[in-house]
Symmetry: C3
Subunit: 261 residues, 3 copies
């Protein structure tokens, strides 16, 4: 509202498509073949790289609270990488650096100050609180809450309704970072307490409450979460090992070690 | 975006009302007295039957991921039954057959490949993953996750924040169908593991983790869920039986066995 | 749809700003310096007081189900207090009285018949069911479900994914009010059963299932929730008392007892 639509400040790449009722509110850089669907709002200082698709009703570069108090709110840069698909209703705040081939579900929220690597998925209604670090090939399903300062390494999967917390003594904001190491799987509905580290290739069962650090390659489950077994003890119905999943995933799911198919 | 608005392909029933900033993107069939509110987007191959109401900001016929790669994406048919009320922000993917008198809450998501019977409610922020089967008179409250392949029979109630899972060995996609039989009640916040069957008229207490099949007319509760009693042991404050609820529900809630009132 | 845009019935305060594609559907009162962003819909009988900001895509005065059956649906009054920030996609039903300096997250839903005091926050995707009472300085985080009839007193904090229930014998609608007394903290993912009272300054740990009343100043945790200790037994790493938090919160968080800073 307090930024007029200043079309001269916009850089359009080749073959950019812009839908109806789109608001481009300032200095914006749109790469080649970018498509901006109907009813999208883009605030100043946003860069959208080549071949990305912004679906209807998205808001990109959403301002932090200062905007409502300060008529000269300085918008920090927001970058969306190449080939991204941002589904309808997604809200990406200012001051984010998002890698290539990001996909979001519908109505995802990415708050300010985060960095996301390449080839990640952020599910519908999932919310990343501020200052989150996410590696590459991370898949976060629907309705997940990722607390402020969380670190999620490459190839992690987080299933629906997971809650990653951060405040040990609420509401004192005594934040402790949760770290989830490579290849780990966090089961649906689970909750991770502040400061916890989940080791590489660990599996957290559905609806587990994680109160202690989890060692690499361990399976934990329950409320509170208890150590159950090694991931190497889990077998499919034919008795075949299936974990570490990187070594046993048969379907092509887009992983770099499978790209020789 | 890659479908121009081709108004000649639209069939309008009698007294159709169309709001402002509505996008009708191809071959669409609108029954008598259909109302399409402002800011709605309807993709090709959608049929909306008589007397249905599509609220502001809904997207009907939302394409699957192929759309973003394929300029000639073939839209599969999507049907919304008579007298439906689709509340604001609801997203219904292509390739769905939805019965009469469907109601959705706000921002519900119905992914592709599903079949829903008559007189169902799908709550706000609830998400049906692909290829779900839902019978008649099913009521699913807010923020529920219904996993791919789930089968829900007639007259089932599912309360807020329930999670119905499907993958036994994530991320291998070794999907096993969860089946919820007639008249069952799934308490708020519960989680059902892959492949589970919930028997007719069973009650799953709030925040239960269902790891084993539930027999008909049993009450289960806890983490993990344990068998507590028969539903016939539950009484109200006056000592009256209240289950099976079909036999004891006093208020008219629109059920067919009550329509003689 | 069945209310034409009757601009003559609108009262505009001084320096009101109205975005594009805004629908003002009847008798509406906009205070001084009110800003209505793009794509907002406001139904009849809404009062928005001075200096409030309605973000893109919000719906204010959303009608109850009667609207879809009744061409003369009478809209009950909806009031939004001074200096409120209503973030994008929020839906506020008719028949609500919301105090000053309300903030909502994105896509919050406030159903009909509720009263909210001053300086409250209602988080993203959080849903207040009908007929809720909320005091002053209450902070409800994201994806919370607040059941019908819930009472939440001043200075309460509710963290993400909390579920406050109400129906003892579903689906009989035998509603019992949950009451949460002043200064209490309800941990992420917790569920409160119908009719429970949480005492003043109590702390409910994360993912707790509250089946019994909680006495003032007690900490409870677990499934089912068990009494752990007094809040006065909780200390920070330096051994300092940190609860009751009102007496120990160091950061200025906008509380009235800190306004002398």
């Amino acid at each position: 509202m307090n930024n007029s639509d200043t079309l001269d400040k916009i850089r359009y790449g080749k073959k950019v498509q812009i839908g109806d009722n789109v608001k481009l509110r300032g200095k914006i850089d749109l790469g080649d073949h970018v498509k901006i669907s109907d009813n999208v709002i883009i605030y100043p200082n946003v860069i959208i790289k080549d071949n990305s698709y912004i679906s209807p009703g998205c808001i990109i570069g959403e301002p932090t609270e200062d905007y409502y108090r300060n008529n000269d709110h300085p918008f920090k840069p927001t970058i969306i990488g190449n080939g991204s698909i941002i589904r309808s209703g997604t809200i990406i705040y200012e001051d984010n650096t998002l890698g290539d081939n990001l996909q979001t579900g519908h109505n995802a929220i990415i708050r300010e100050g985060s960095k996301i690597g390449n080839k990640c998925n952020i599910g519908s209604f999932t919310e990343l609180q501020p200052n989150v670090y996410i590696g590459n090939y991370v898949r976060i399903h629907s309705k997940v809450m990722v607390g402020e300062l969380t670190r999620i390494e490459d190839f992690v999967w987080i299933y629906p309704h997971v809650k990653i917390t951060n405040d040990r003594y609420p509401p004192h904001r005594d934040f402790k970072t949760v770290t989830i190491k490579k290849y780990s799987q966090i089961g649906a509905g689970s909750l991770i307490l502040p400061g916890i580290e989940i080791g590489e290739n660990a599996i957290v069962g559905a609806m587990t409450v994680v109160k202690r650090d989890v060692k690499p390659e361990r399976v934990i489950s329950g409320v509170p979460g208890r150590d159950i077994c090694s991931i190497r003890d889990l077998k499919d119905e034919q008795g075949n090992m299936i974990y570490p999943w990187k070594d046993h995933l048969k379907d092509y799911r887009g992983y770099p070690w499978q790209e020789t198919e």
